[in-house]
């Protein structure tokens, strides 16, 4: 059920019943139209963003984390007394810690020591144990650390392995994809999102292709291996996540960090959308794609909001 329609975006009071748990408020995130950073886009092309920070854990990762935890319990791989372990740069860890806290599991996370102070503090507040790895080794250092800990203590840990766990993309196949089709009333023509674990793209993108193979799927990734777009991954130079299918997207768009930073600032100052840098990358790519169309409805994903990036120089350096 949607709370408003694309044609009547003004406020409607709708009855939303109280939920039985925090987990029931995951998903069904608002779809918001971008109206001001789209001035150079033909009027017949609309761009919408899923505001994923409205999930209770504050990011798109709630969907994957919840599916991973529930599936692991169903399969018997995660049982009371065990500790959920994974490597993460922050958002996934926050989602794990959010749901694990309520379910009574301990969470241990391996993460590079250059994660933002906001993320460290959030994870610590949620009671997660943090194992910091060398920033120079990036995520791979954190992954190796997690694998070593699991190998040494296989009975203690449930290794969630977000890069290879199919529950990661199942979460988006069963929630994000159907929501977008419903919220656009089947009008979506292009789905565009960034690649990190690729779970969002593989799940929501696959659902949309099965629903209507005319929907174009556009994947964005940093232009090179050294970049500043937190959460996105340059696939060519990376280990491919186990469920990543590079042929699912119709198009792959490389994004410069500078363009992502600039659009992140514009979204805050022109749209009132204080979002993370990967959302800036997504919006920039959506606008550039829209300029090439005569008509269409583009939907992208804004993975998180900007509160975790307030210490980032992007807010003090101006235009870089």
């Amino acid at each position: 059920m949607t709370t408003s329609t694309l044609n009547s975006p003004e406020y409607h009071a709708v009855h939303i019943p109280a939920t039985r748990s925090l987990e029931a408020s995951v998903g069904n995130t608002p779809l918001v139209r971008l109206r001001h950073v789209t001035r150079e886009v033909p009027k017949s092309v609309q761009i919408y963003a899923k505001t994923e920070w409205t999930n209770p854990g504050g990011s798109v990762k709630d969907r994957a984390a919840l599916f991973i935890i529930r599936d692991a319990e169903k399969s018997g791989h995660l049982t009371p007394g065990m500790t959920l372990l994974d490597s993460t740069s922050g958002n996934m860890g926050i989602s794990y810690a959010t749901f694990a806290a309520a379910r009574g599991y301990q969470v241990t996370l391996c993460l590079p020591d250059n994660v933002s102070p906001e993320r460290k503090k959030t994870l610590q507040a949620l009671g997660a144990e943090l194992i910091f790895t060398d920033a120079m080794e990036g995520s791979d250092g954190a992954i190796i650390q997690a694998r070593e800990m699991v190998a040494q203590n296989p009975d203690k840990y449930y290794y969630a392995d977000q890069y290879n766990n199919p529950s990661s993309w199942h979460g988006h196949y069963h929630t994000t994809g159907p929501e977008i089709i419903d919220q656009t009333q089947n009008r979506i023509t292009h789905f565009l999102c960034g690649l990190g674990t690729s779970g969002t793209m593989m799940g929501a993108g696959r659902y949309m292709k099965e629903h209507d193979d005319k929907i174009k799927i556009i994947a964005i990734q940093p232009e090179g291996p050294f970049h500043g777009i937190e959460g996105l991954k340059h696939m060519e130079s990376s280990i491919k996540p186990g469920f990543y299918d590079e042929h699912l997207p119709d198009t792959h768009l490389p994004i410069r960090t500078e363009d992502a930073l600039d659009m992140t600032r514009r979204l805050a100052r022109e749209e009132g959308l204080l979002v993370g840098i990967s959302s800036g990358a997504a919006a920039f790519a959506a606008v550039e794609s829209a300029k090439t169309l005569k008509e269409g409805v583009i939907v992208t994903i804004f993975c998180d909001n900007g509160y975790k990036y307030l210490s980032d120089r992007l807010w003090t350096d101006g235009n870089d």
């Binding site: 922050g90 995520s139 291996p225 990376s238």
Partner: protein, 103 residues
């Protein structure tokens, strides 16, 4: 001579080298020497205007040069420089994992 440590995503452009000896009296001179030794690094560190890109962090003996004198920061033969990624996630490099496995 001073040394500079290279983070995993840039080792593709240094033939896999993790630490490189560099010449110069300032950070700017040292980086110039680095990008002369490994030309492919230049476009990843500098923008078209010749300025360090926004997400490139240079540390000298543990301090971010932005809090010192930027590229004019003086260095000596014992200085240890690092190029520290600003991004913590999304980078997974097969060659690094292979290197760690073989250790």
């Amino acid at each position: 001579m001073a040394t500079i440590q290279i983070p995993t995503p840039l080792r593709t452009y240094t033939n896999g080298e993790t630490e490189i000896t560099i010449k110069g009296n300032t950070v700017g001179e040292a980086l110039h020497d680095l990008t002369t030794q490994h030309v492919a690094l230049k476009q990843h560190l500098y923008n078209e205007d010749g300025k360090l890109r926004a997400f490139v962090n240079i540390f000298v003996d543990g301090d971010d040069v932005r809090h010192l004198n930027g590229e004019s920061t003086a260095i000596n033969a014992d200085s240890s420089l690092r190029i520290v990624p600003s991004v913590a996630g999304g980078l997974v490099y097969q060659h690094t994992i292979n290197m760690r496995k073989s250790q």
